[in-house]
Amino acid sequence: MKWPEMLQFANTFDGFLRLLFVVAAGITLVVYSMPFETQYPAKLIELYMAPWWRLLTTLLVLTAAIWCPRVGILVALVVFFYLGDMNTLLTPFASTTKPL
């Protein structure tokens, strides 16, 4: 069976690194991002407060996307869940309800 072209990794060290990052991002998505009940590490929660950290995570998405589309998409998903969950969890409950 032959893989689709966009899912193929070149048989080089660069291809191995891309595969490694895809697997790491996939595991992060399954373990931390998708289950809402799973708590993020305390360091990540503290760092979310700093704007420069959020800026760095966004630049990570940009860098990953420029390097490899597959890695970029998965990293973007991880960052989306992280930023979205942190924003939801750190916002007071009263301000998350729609005014009647």
Partner: protein, 157 residues
């Protein structure tokens, strides 16, 4: 000296200086400004007002947002499209939506001005409350109207 020159110039006469490589592959200035705006929007997406995110979460807002993402992918490339999609999803994700799901609890909450002396815990914790959300809430007993309860109720009669 010759070794330095060969280290700076690789095969095909292409420079290996990282700064030159970065400058050579820079995008157009308007595209980069748009990318920087998207990065700032993603970084400070929590500051976007609930009114804007509520509009983005509406049916028309979603259609327009997906259309904008598709347009950016077609015109500026998929990298900018990915940033735009991330920003749009974060704005939609931050919209207030609990009232739309039928959660109608705490409807009778009212805000009252704080009067009198501070409570003991407020003094201990150093809090100075400006108001109280509500001093009385109407509640109702939990009622089980499932079929099992109704059957047992009938059998008791």
């Amino acid at each position: 000296m010759a070794a330095l020159q060969t280290s700076q110039v690789t095969g095909g006469g292409e420079s290996s200086n990282p700064l030159e490589i970065v400058l050579k592959h820079l995008d157009d200035v308007p595209h980069m400004i748009y990318g920087a705006l998207m990065i700032v929007l993603i970084t400070f997406h929590g500051q976007v007002g609930s009114t804007i995110s509520a509009y983005a979460d509406s049916a028309l807002g979603r259609v327009l947002g997906i259309g904008v993402v598709l347009g950016i992918v077609q015109t500026l490339g998929w990298t900018y499209g990915l940033l735009t999609a991330l920003a749009f999803l974060l704005i939609v994700h931050g919209s207030p939506r609990l009232a739309a799901t039928g959660i109608d609890a705490f409807e009778d909450l009212k805000r009252h001005e704080a009067k009198g002396n501070r409570w003991f815990v407020e003094k201990v914790l150093g809090e100075n409350p400006e108001g109280v959300t509500s001093d009385g809430v109407n509640t109702e007993a939990v009622q089980d109207d499932s079929e099992t309860a109704m059957r047992s109720g009938h059998s008791n009669r």
